[in-house]
Amino acid sequence: MRLAKFRERRGTTSQRQTKKPEEFEIMLVTDVGSTTTKARLFRKKSNEYRFVSSGEAPTTVEAPFEDVTRGVRNAVREVEELTGLRLLEEEGIVWPRRASGDGVDLYATTSSAGGGLQMMVAGVVKTMTAESAERAALGAGAIVMDVIAIDDGRMPHQKIERIRTLRPDMILLAGGTDGGTITHVAEITELIAAAEPKARLGIGYELPIVYAGNKDARAPISKTLEDKFALKIVDNIRPVLELENTDPARDAIHELFMEHVMSHAPGYDKLMKWTDVPIMPTPAGEGRMFRTLAELRKVNVIGVGLGGATTNVYSIYDGKFVRTVSANLGMSYSICNVLKEATIGNIMRWVPFDIEPVVVRNRLRNKMIRPTTIPQTLEELMVEHAVAREALRLGFEHHKQLARGLRGVQRVRTMGEIFEQSAEEETYIDMMRVDFLAGTGGLLSHAPRRAQSALLLMDGFQPDGLTKLAQDSVFMMPHLGVLSTVHPQAALEIFEKDCLVRLGTCIAPRGTLEKGGNALSFKVEAEGSVVEENVAFGSIRVVPLESGKTAKLVLSPVKDLDVGRGPGHGLETTVEGGVVGLIFDCRGRPLSIPVDPAARRQKLLEWFQAMSAYPENVYERIRSGEVKEGS
């Protein structure tokens, strides 16, 4: 439907592609990332769609190339070399497929190169319409550079100065409920008009503004903005206080992303001619697949995309989808922003060997200035993993600030809520009710051992109770996301069979035991074998259970610990395995790490060893003091 509409608008209907999606046999999808362009080839074999091959090359959005198609060609060339298929020609991708067998039936791409889609968001009240607008922009795959509101604490001249210096790709303007006062939204509009912000890319083109506020204010807002900006008006994001309607704004953002933003990025005019599927922001593709996972299994899902420049967190909780992007939390370009926000102390708490903080600082700085280098030693890998845990933790904290109920809605509170002072001020995400925790992005997908990804997810998110852990096999979630807009069935098949790697199930009791001791006892029954054990508080125990297998689990926590049925209450259930297995994480929630450096290092090594996260010989090396500063 989306494809048909797009083709119609672009006038490409039946000009190049005549096949129906169900007739597609070979499909090529790329993701033009901030650092690397990744090509993935999918193919129909014996009546099922599978992932076949991948190729990667540095993204070429920047000088001296300034043409993304060069990076795309290089990545696709690797796929050609690996598969023997001919996919490239002078004009671009060979598409549609020729009678000779050369080429593909579909080419599509996502993109986050050159900083992705950068937006400024404005609304009237910071915690109401401005927050709804922020959620809509984030949900569309944007990076939100700033949120301007009447009550954001800044003076009008400060806001104007800020808007002027931002140079966003697009602005989303909301404010007021339908039929309500128009004064405030007009005021914020006048502020934007006065600041006259310029677009980031392309000198002299009109900056797009999406207006999704009070419908009664459309006339004065058009009058103020239409001469200076490319204004698009859509339905109100908060037609009434009790309702948030982000879809029209999100669709408008996607449309303008293609028509205005992408067409001004280096080489995209060419790339857009290579495909008749709209280019999608990478996070929007990723988000679609996390949503698919939640919908397929009818569960609550938290997903994370840990990239080189950003950390995207997605939650699909009781049917509500929220995405946040922490624009400067990443593992290459932004690694030092993680250092800055998390502080060196918080990073050091995950490093299991004796090293001076100043050495770690310098190493992270050197990664920042040479972002494409990779760890060669285990110690270097462990330091990167320490930073990754903090990036995940900070990204999730940021996410929880937006994953909360609509504010400003009057409702009757129970006495309990009044005393707890919680309600809409806190996130609605209860980790005990999260069924799935899944990760994607270079560091997680390329982790040498899957147990490392599992541990990073556990440490960064601290799931409570029983949570299935999963990850993207070779980073193809964005690819499948854009593919699903054309061929949902193929995207789903590949997602289930080749993309989603089941890591296992994490069983983590909530609560802590001051004096330690036994945390829980468990009994695992699978295929006739029974494992029955006690797990001490402060430790991790892994019971192997292969991917695709299930086991009967009986849990009995001690009285202060809760596995989902209340403190001290046991449970019986069926659990799924994975490449790591069943992970009994009895380190306590919230997770506490010893303060004393020697005790802390000892504990970390114990946990890593229990997970088989790193090769066995490294633990002895570290314990014997062989691994030290500067080694």
Binding site: E56, H157, T183, L191, S445
Partner: protein
């Protein structure tokens, strides 16, 4: 997974080409600089003109500050009524403290006024909010040539491109903006540390070239002495934080107002400047250089630079050094390791194994075997080396 296997795919995914940042260290090259206005304006030079580094080549006027004044509130009237109380109309010019709106009540007994907070022009009178917008006069912005050379291209109303034959050294990271001064060597070997003792009054107005490190104390003394710039191998992160007064999160620099420009050529920590870089700068001791610390690693890859413009007589007979291709590693190619455990080590390619190899982290990666200067043979991921041009 499918017949193609997940593990194989993971290997394929890690086969990305080694990306060398391609830092330039060239005795003779042609440097072109685009000098562009932030918004359209006037270009002051013509194609073919010869310009000096501090010559203004283009100028424009950026819109002044804007003041939003709620006239309706100030006069105690409804927003839609304000036009009748305005003494100034849309696009009228006003002077600071001039009355722009007035309301009389009780037969002129009570009067309220709205005064202009600055000189400017009325840009908006809103009957919806009761606000008016007053724009201050335009602010002139000028762009200098930055490097001496010839104007080779004029973009009408936007700017120019200036070209010069030059020696060029790109750093890996810098802070502080454009500057222009004579180079002064403060080290006799590339592994010397730039300490405060080496900075004396003769360093004022100079670009100091050090060796492997500049200390925090030396940075502070350099600013006090009026040093225009410092070029060294490395700096300790903690010293940089102290020097700047804050911690850099994302590497987008150049706007810092710190009294000098710092360019590091290798990285953070004590890092010996390669002989080639050091010797090149040494050979231009005392010569004028244009420097810029601006660094942007993401989206644009801007690296800090030292440009020493050459006279036509100096380049006669010289051949411009070829551009780096970014690939091109072959046995014998001189390279530098840019990541632990051999960070900073210099050597040459001994062999380039075709097969992926498992490194200590257990990742399958493309590697290069290197013979280091000290004779050791080591294996390093290709992503962790860069080519040294010779």
């Amino acid at each position: 997974m499918s017949e193609f296997g997940q593990e194989k795919s993971r290997k394929e995914a890690s086969m990305a080409h080694a990306y060398t940042p391609g830092l330039k260290v060239k005795r003779f090259t042609i440097v072109s600089k685009m000098r562009r206005l932030p918004i359209p304006g006037e270009v002051l030079v013509e194609k073919g003109d010869t310009v000096t580094h501090d010559q203004v080549v283009a100028r424009t006027q950026v819109p002044g500050e804007i003041h939003l004044i709620n006239v309706a509130n100030a006069l105690g009237v409804d927003p839609e009524e304000i036009p009748q109380f305005m003494l100034k109309k849309l696009k009228d010019s006003v002077a600071k403290n001039e009355v722009i709106a007035k309301r009389s009540s009780f037969f002129g007994l009570f009067k309220s006024f709205v005064y202009a907070p600055s000189d400017g022009t009325i840009e908006l009178i809103s009957e919806v909010t009761g606000q008016i917008a007053l724009r201050e006069p335009f602010v002139p912005v000028e762009i200098t040539a930055y490097i001496p050379g010839k104007v080779v291209h004029v973009m009408p109303r936007e700017g120019v491109t200036i070209r010069t034959p030059a020696a060029l050294v790109q750093g890996i990271f810098g802070v502080g903006g454009e500057a222009h001064a004579n180079l002064k060597m403060t080290a006799s070997t590339p592994d010397e540390v730039l300490t405060p003792e080496k900075i004396n009054p003769s360093c004022e107005g100079k670009v100091l070239v050090g060796g492997s490190l500049v200390t925090g104390e030396a940075l502070a003394k350099a600013v006090k002495t009026g040093v225009k710039g410092i070029v060294v191998g490395g700096v300790e992160d903690e010293d940089l934080i102290k020097f700047l007064g804050y911690e850099i999160g994302v590497a987008i620099t150049g706007q810092e107002e710190i009294g000098t420009t710092l360019i590091i050529t290798e990285g953070f920590g004590r890092m010996k400047m390669p002989h080639r870089t050091f010797d090149l700068l040494k050979s231009f001791d005392g010569r004028e250089a244009s420097i810029n610390g601006a660094t942007q690693i993401r989206a644009g890859v801007i690296r800090p630079e030292i440009v020493i413009a050459l006279k036509d007589t100096e380049v006669k007979g010289l051949v411009e050094e070829a551009e780096e291709t970014g690939g091109g590693m072959a046995p014998g190619t001189p390279i530098r390791v840019i990541r632990e455990p051999y960070f900073g080590a210099i050597g040459h390619v001994a062999s380039l194994p075709v097969e992926l190899q498992v490194v200590e982290t257990e990742s399958d990666v493309r590697v290069v075997e290197i013979e280091l200067e000290d004779g050791r043979r080591v294996v390093v991921p290709r992503a962790n080396v860069e080519i040294i041009e010779e």
